[in-house]
């Protein structure tokens, strides 16, 4: 039986142990492209769409965490309480593909694929999200920074399933911006998530290197100056700091030079939005 649709996490991890070569499938919006384009020929698939806890999300104000199950689609993040708690994630979710993709694609899939252009990933990086993984015999949680190790490479072990993420709620402004050469439905050429927590800025970049880049040097620089002092000229300097931390490449979607330029512009604009200047 090459297709499995487990209805519990336990069942899913057991199936994965028995079928270590199985492809894990959530929304299908990444994997089916590879199948349709003849890049993958799956023989065994474990579809994770019927696992109840994967479809749940909750906002735990006591712990200050938002939990999002692996199969929660982007469409759910775009509106309502989840969007209020995580505005940057809502803005990022809105830029994922088309409405049809957002109805199927999920954060678990974005993490599983782990593309540097994955739209939700800069948000997870900037917000210090934790990724939860479970195998038949054990469970662990790793920071996003430890999770993503390269382009389309992550630290998930072959017997592990991504169950969801926990995202700390910040007490300041947060936002996301993404450049693509079309007004909708476009792969990121450069993206930035900027969040403010306890008056400290955090910045993460998408499509600007082999992994999502957390700009710790730029953060330290701007945080040493203090949010209250930020003006347009400092924002421009901040842009240069962020550029210096980016590691863009040339490809068919854009040039390294443009990406480096654009990410600075986005970072500066988000910073100014964050401090309302």
């Amino acid at each position: 039986m090459p297709i499995f649709i487990p209805s519990s996490l336990t069942e899913a991890t057991q199936l994965l142990s028995k079928n270590p070569d199985a492809h894990l499938l959530t929304g299908g919006t990444d994997m089916m492209v590879e199948v349709n384009f003849n890049h993958r020929h799956p023989d065994t698939v474990i579809a994770l769409r019927n696992i109840p806890e994967f479809q749940r999300w909750n906002i735990d104000t006591a712990s200050g965490l938002v939990h999002i199950g692996s199969s929660v689609p982007y469409a759910t993040m775009e509106h309502g309480d989840l969007a209020k708690a995580l505005p940057a994630l809502a803005e990022a979710a809105r830029t994922v593909g088309s409405p049809q993709i957002r109805a199927a694609g999920s954060i678990g899939g974005n993490l599983g694929t782990c593309s540097p252009a994955g739209d939700s990933l800069p948000v997870l990086a900037a917000l210090d999200a934790v990724v939860h993984l479970q195998s038949e015999s054990s469970r662990r949680s790793v920071s996003f920074a430890e999770f993503m190790v390269g382009p389309k490479r992550n630290s998930r072990l072959p017997n592990e399933i991504i169950t969801g993420v926990s995202i700390p709620i910040t007490n300041g402004w947060q936002g996301y911006a993404k450049v693509g050469v079309r007004n909708a439905m476009v792969i990121s050429v450069a993206s930035v998530c900027l969040a403010i927590h306890d008056n400290k800025v955090r910045v993460a970049l998408g499509s600007l290197g082999p992994t999502i880049i957390r700009c710790t040097e730029s953060e330290n620089w701007i945080n040493s100056i203090g949010l209250a002092n930020i003006d347009h000229s400092l924002a421009k300097e901040f842009a240069d700091h962020v550029r210096a931390e980016s590691r863009p490449i040339d490809d068919h979607r854009s040039t390294a030079e443009y990406r480096r330029h654009a990410v600075g512009v986005l970072a500066a604009r988000l910073l100014l939005r964050g401090v309302q200047k």
């Binding site: 803005e91 936002g175 450049v179 079309r182 909708a184 330029h261």
Partner: protein, 753 residues
């Protein structure tokens, strides 16, 4: 719900599409929807290299896969090994050498598409990779060996007109680059071939622009007489030029003949990018000499069209380009040199606008430079130079078409501009859209102009006639034609013509196939004129027979009879009888072949009456630009188009809005990126098409000055909308940013650096 009609669907009405109901319900049979009992799937193996010698092909691995029924290569082509629209230079399958990435090498037929894919993977082809010729200038300067027995220059054409030494005080020049655009029809190439039981013939259902030309080329390659190859138009999901060349026709038919089973082939999107020709990328240099009052004295130009590996329609595209050097402007003196060359890049051929898109991008850039150099307003400089009926063009041909260009420009200029952007615009109305990249303060607005003229029908002596048959029986009409309906709406128009000419309401059309004479291609803005002319002619012949019949019955000279609404009336007497009644128990059928006036080849100096007719259009673009990020939102396109006569307002509106979207795509996002002959973005993820959020407001004026040369007075409307809109948008970006941008599509880095 049911649709109720309040008026007759005659010429001038917005008659609804007869295929509309089936299309909205998903019942309409596109070629990819067709099935046959016992059908196999076909698939094509393509070269991964832009230029390589084929050392060996071993297909044995494919044969070993269960479900594989047929594997074919160049060795299995029974007839002519090559095909082509103008020059037969393209192999059905590459035999010794591959000349572009994606060139077919083999094909298989199997029980399932996945079996086909695995069979293709099992074919072993050993290539000796060669250094590709990818720079068109190297084709011209002969610094690369010929990559094809026909050489690297497909065609060169000069134009020498007037005094080549003429000059004038104002001189502006520029070099313009136009990227490789894809037609990107939504319905990818597909065909179903069904072999005859006796094995002597084949019936092929295919989505194409020109059934008879396909048949001609297929029959040669299959080594069969044309009458043994019957083509039926499968439902066509858009065309825009990409279905003018053969793609999978021969392969599908050959697999069906070999297996004696029906075979269906259908390209995926990635394969589609390799399976059809694209719009030629071009580099155009122009130097305009003008007086201080802005009047053009001389134009010098050099065109280089990169035709890719095979010639397709490159030579005709070149001619369209060089002969439209002057654009819709008077030009007494010209020195033009143009090349269409062969490279190891993807083959290029027909796309909506056909060579004129490239020329227009350059001449409109020049007009803005001329405006800047003379200090004359962009609209005024164009008005001062516009061409009129009776003017001689740089080919020596006298412009005979109606040319209401001044009205096109003035009416466009008079259209209201969009409202200024408010202080808190919706994020989706800003450049960058849902990416939320811009704030209000980052945005600058710009306005730009583009004006163009476009030849209609085929040129240079080609008799692209069209055939139609009209059969009147008991008050109902059935039409027959081979005109490819690709979405443009000829199936709506043809019955409108019959209703108007014959006073009938019940009009149907027969299957579109090769069981009647050719209709020519659905391209070059020609079907309303050509096939419309054929249907009109056939209906008029039937009307004459009907009048003769009525005249005989009522003892009236048929010349006194006329159609009034749905009645036949005696124009000098009292007889009034409905067409329905008059044609009871009466049946007549007439076939008409419509030919446009003859044209000539250009001579070596580019002189000759090479074009049939012209249409004109003006575009004004308003854009918002995020200068720092280089992102653009096209806010509004205003356009006034010379249409001759509006035969179906809703259809014309659809053609105009659709053409504008394609021109917008070329202006700001659409480009096939090719590096060293390798296509980098053969998918809809990376080849970006305008979405609903990229669509501008479009304001339209249709300029109706019926052209006496055109049947029904109507000019073709298909291509004009997509030609000058591209330079108008790019001009608006220049206006907003102050940057000199001489390429399209405009990329963010072209704006912000």
């Amino acid at each position: 719900m049911t649709i109720t009609k309040t008026q007759r669907d005659i010429l001038g009405s917005s008659a609804l599409r007869p295929d509309g109901i089936s299309k909205v319900q998903g019942d309409f049979a596109f070629s990819s929807d067709l099935h046959a009992e016992n059908m196999l799937w076909g698939a094509t193996l393509r070269s991964p290299h832009p230029y390589a010698r084929i050392v060996s092909i071993d297909v044995s691995g494919a044969w070993k896969i269960a479900g594989v029924e047929c594997v074919i290569t160049a060795e299995d082509v029974p007839g002519q090994l090559t095909y082509g629209l103008i020059s037969e230079d393209q192999p059905v399958f590459a035999r010794d050498v591959v000349r572009y990435m994606g060139e077919p090498v083999a094909a298989v037929a199997a029980d399932h598409p996945e079996t086909c894919r695995r069979a293709l993977a099992a074919i072993q082809v050993v290539y000796e990779v060669l250094t590709p010729l990818t720079n068109p200038e190297h084709a011209i300067d002969a610094s690369h060996e010929p990559i094809h027995p026909d050489g690297n220059i497909i065609r060169r054409q000069r134009i020498m007109h007037g005094d080549p030494t003429a000059t004038a005080p104002i001189v502006v020049e520029g070099t313009y680059d136009i990227g490789m655009q894809d037609q990107a029809f939504l319905g990818t190439e597909s065909a179903l071939a069904i072999p005859d039981h006796d094995g002597a013939g084949v019936e092929v259902f295919v989505a194409t622009q020109w059934l008879h030309e396909d048949r001609k080329q297929m029959a040669k390659c299959l080594g069969m007489p044309e009458e043994k190859v019957r083509l039926v138009l499968g439902g066509v999901g858009g065309a825009f030029g990409a279905r003018e060349d053969i793609s999978l026709q021969v392969h599908t038919a050959l697999l069906a003949m070999r297996t004696s089973r029906p075979v269906k082939m259908q390209y995926g999107r990635e394969e589609s990018f390799f399976g059809h020709v694209h719009r030629h990328p071009a580099q155009i240099w122009m130097r305009h000499h003008a007086n201080t009052d802005g009047r053009i004295v001389k134009i010098e130009a050099r065109f280089v069209f990169d035709g890719g590996a095979y010639s397709s329609t490159s030579s005709a595209v070149l001619i369209n380009g060089v002969t439209h050097t002057q654009g819709p402007y008077q030009c007494p003196n010209a020195v033009v040199d143009g090349y269409a060359v062969r490279t190891n890049n993807p083959p290029c051929g027909a796309m909506r606008g056909f060579g004129v898109v490239q020329a227009c991008f350059a001449h409109e850039g020049q007009m803005d430079k001329l405006a800047a150099a003379t200090g004359i307003d962009e609209v005024e400089i164009r008005l001062r130079n516009i061409i009129h009926t009776g003017d001689t063009m740089i080919t020596g041909q006298v412009l005979e078409s109606v040319a209401p260009l001044e009205r096109c420009i003035r009416e466009t200029a008079a259209m209201p501009l969009p409202a200024e952007m408010g202080s808190h615009p919706h994020e989706l109305d800003l450049p960058g859209g849902s990416g939320r990249t811009a704030d209000r303060r980052n945005i600058v607005r710009g306005i730009g102009w583009g004006v163009s003229m476009k030849n209609l029908m085929y040129s240079e002596g080609f008799d692209d006639y069209s055939t139609a048959r009209c059969t009147l029986t008991n008050g109902s009409v059935e039409l027959k034609f081979a005109t490819s309906e690709v979405g443009q709406g000829f199936v709506t128009l043809a019955p409108q013509i019959a209703r108007s000419v014959l006073g009938v309401d019940n009009v149907t059309y027969d299957t579109i196939d090769t069981q009647i004479g050719s209709a020519g291609s659905t391209s070059a803005s020609r079907q309303t004129w050509m096939s419309g002319g054929a249907v009109d002619g056939a209906c008029r012949m039937v009307r004459e027979r009907l009048f003769e019949h009525v005249g005989a019955v009522h003892n009236i000279d048929p010349l006194r009879l006329a159609i009034d609404d749905t009645d036949i009336i005696d124009t000098v007497g009292t007889l009034r009888i409905s067409v329905q009644e008059a044609s009871a128990n009466f049946s007549v059928s007439e076939t008409y072949e419509y030919h446009h006036r003859k044209t000539e080849d250009l001579d070596e100096n580019g002189q000759g009456n090479c074009h049939v007719a012209f249409a004109f259009v003006a575009h004004r673009a308003v854009v918002d630009v995020d200068v720092e990020l280089g992102l653009v939102k096209v806010v509004q396109i205003a356009t006034a188009q010379d249409v001759g006569r509006v035969l179906n307002p809703m259809s014309v509106t659809g053609q105009i809005e659709g053409g504008i979207a394609q021109g917008l795509g070329l202006a700001v996002m659409e480009e096939i990126i090719v590096t060293n002959g390798i296509v980098r973005n053969p998918s809809f993820t990376d080849y970006l098409l305008p979405t609903a959020l990229d669509a501008p407001q479009v304001v339209i004026s249709m300029i109706e000055v019926p052209d006496p040369q055109a049947p029904m007075g109507a000019k073709g409307v298909g291509e004009a909308p997509c030609i000058s809109v591209t330079p108008a948008i790019v001009a608006a970006i220049r206006n907003a940013t102050g940057k000199s941008i001489d390429r399209c599509p405009v990329r963010p880095q072209d704006i912000c650096f």
